[in-house]
Amino acid sequence: MSESLLSIKNLSVEFKTELGKVNALNEVSFDVPRNSITAVVGESGSGKSVTSNAILRLLPDTAQISGEIILNPQGEDPLNITSLDERDPRMQNLRGGLVSMVFQEPMTALSPVHRIGDQVAEAVLCHRDVSPEVAMAEAATMLEQVGLTEVDKKIRMYPFEFSGGMRQRVVIAMALICHPQLLICDEPTTALDVTIQAEILVLIKSLQRKLNNSVLFITHDLGVVAQIADRVVVMYDGQVMESGSVRQVLKNPQHPYTRHLLASIPGAVTDSGSQLHAANWSDGAPIGAGTFLADAEEGRQVREFSQ
């Protein structure tokens, strides 16, 4: 079992449009090792979502795909995703059981006419053989874990009654509750404020450790990458620019685009490519630059206040 859980080899994707072909991915290759979190970063339109949609075979018919995507699930035969037939029974296993995904736009993943609790419980029932009561109880627990309060009431509400960040957390709960071997998160925290983002990142990471699975985490925030990922893949214009351990890539970026990304973090000091204290822009405020309130007394105050 030395191979990676997921191996993408020379993946190219072209879309046919009225105005000719759009080349979205160009010979993309990278691996997602077992028991680890791999982040994909890159500019808007660089091909991050096309890559993750290709793994779940969710690209439209207008897409022409070449290359290989190999999944090596624990205790099962390897799966060559790109050559799998749509009617192959393993397809169902792939989409529901082995791999689950948090989509970039939460509303597209939620049904407007079903209650929140039923939708999350449904995700449990699809993949595991438990009673509806158990599924609903698990759903409630997971919704609590992603930071929703008054869950008893919330499970009876509909998506339109939720705020943007609450919807995003429901979608995260639906993906986490399936215990997939590969969890793909496409910008899962863009609609969340930093305090909740931090909690979700910790939750994803601790579940990853508990379940020993792997996460492919798409984001445009290098701060998030530094906090959650073990490895990082940098994409630009449909190609992989560089990849390696987070430390290697963020501390010593080789590619000019990576340096540019680091430099364009709002508030970053741009005169040096390796300026990593970008978030430390304040002198007065207790900016933790990644740490929550360091001071225990302050922490206690905030805790009391949030009750």
């Binding site: 500019e43 808007s44 309060t149 930093v194 445009h220 987070v246 430390r247 304040s282 740490t291």
Partner: protein, 273 residues
């Protein structure tokens, strides 16, 4: 500078739960007011009540239009229409706000047609110029929303709001899904429109780094209440409220050696990493 928008004692409850609790603030012309706050604290409800996309329970919203002060909540829909050209909103969920069956050309042209602006040819030119401003290729015009990336779709929403050359733009998490380099370009665009045309922005965001760079004043919401309000530098350098402090301390650093150590809040069972 005089105020362009004055909100007084705005209240909104959903099934007896107050979601926006007697919120008051003013925005000066040609400035940017940031609104930050926890998820679920009422930011979207607040800004949607301004244009009556949501009907508030009480409170007033007064807007200083080209024709003088108007009470937005006492106008009839017909009286409101010309003001909708002056006040535009960019939504949080770009996909849900774009009609999937319309091409980008039609999406961007629609507001111009509704407000009777230009002829077919000049509208086409305006659409092309707007696409260039939000850094989308000219060929995007003939494509449908599904054929774009998330960030590209968000830029279509931004283009649609700006094409009418509004005076007040309400942005609800409008740059959150953009990577930093495109985000910086869009913020530059918004800032240059502000200095060129004197635009005013109401800017809901959760990225405090962006708020600090882009906004003049900031309003911090917590559980439906405004807990802190003032010039950005003042609030961020000397936060008075615990939630503001918590927000400032939770920004992830791009340095892998500085690890997040989140504080478990009430109702959360988190294990330390």
């Amino acid at each position: 500078m005089s105020e362009i928008l004055t909100v007084t004692d705005l209240c909104k409850s959903f099934s007896d739960q107050p979601v926006v609790n007697s919120v008051s603030f003013g925005v000066r012309e040609s400035t940017t007011l940031g609104i930050v706050g926890e998820s679920g604290s009422g930011k979207t409800t607040l800004v949607r009540s301004i244009l009556r996309a949501i009907d508030p329970d009480s409170g007033t919203v007064r807007y200083n239009s080209r024709k003088g002060w108007q009470d937005l909540h006492s106008l009839s829909p017909k009286e409101l229409l010309p003001l909708r050209r002056e006040i535009q909103m960019i939504f949080q969920d770009p996909f849900a706000s774009l009609n999937p069956r319309m091409t980008v050309q039609a999406i961007l042209e629609e507001p111009l047609i509704i407000h009777g602006i230009g002829d077919k040819e000049s509208r086409k030119q305006r659409v092309a110029a707007m696409l260039e401003k939000v850094q989308l290729e000219p060929s995007s015009a003939s494509r449908f929303p599904h054929a774009f990336s998330g960030g590209q779709r968000q830029r279509i929403g931004i283009a649609r709001a700006l094409i009418l050359e509004p005076r007040l733009v309400i942005c609800d998490e409008s740059v959150s899904a953009l990577d930093v380099s495109v985000q910086a370009q869009i913020l530059d665009l918004l800032a240059s429109l502000q200095s060129e045309l004197g635009l005013t922005y109401l800017f809901v965001a959760h990225d405090l780094r962006v708020v600090r760079e882009f906004c003049d004043e900031v309003l911090v919401m917590y559980a439906g209440n405004v807990v802190e309000q003032g010039p950005v530098e003042e609030v961020f350098n000397n936060p008075q409220h615990d939630y503001t402090r918590l927000l400032l301390s939770a920004i992830p650093s791009p340095d892998p050696d500085e690890k997040l150590e989140p504080l478990a809040r009430d109702g959360l069972q988190l294990e330390k990493v």
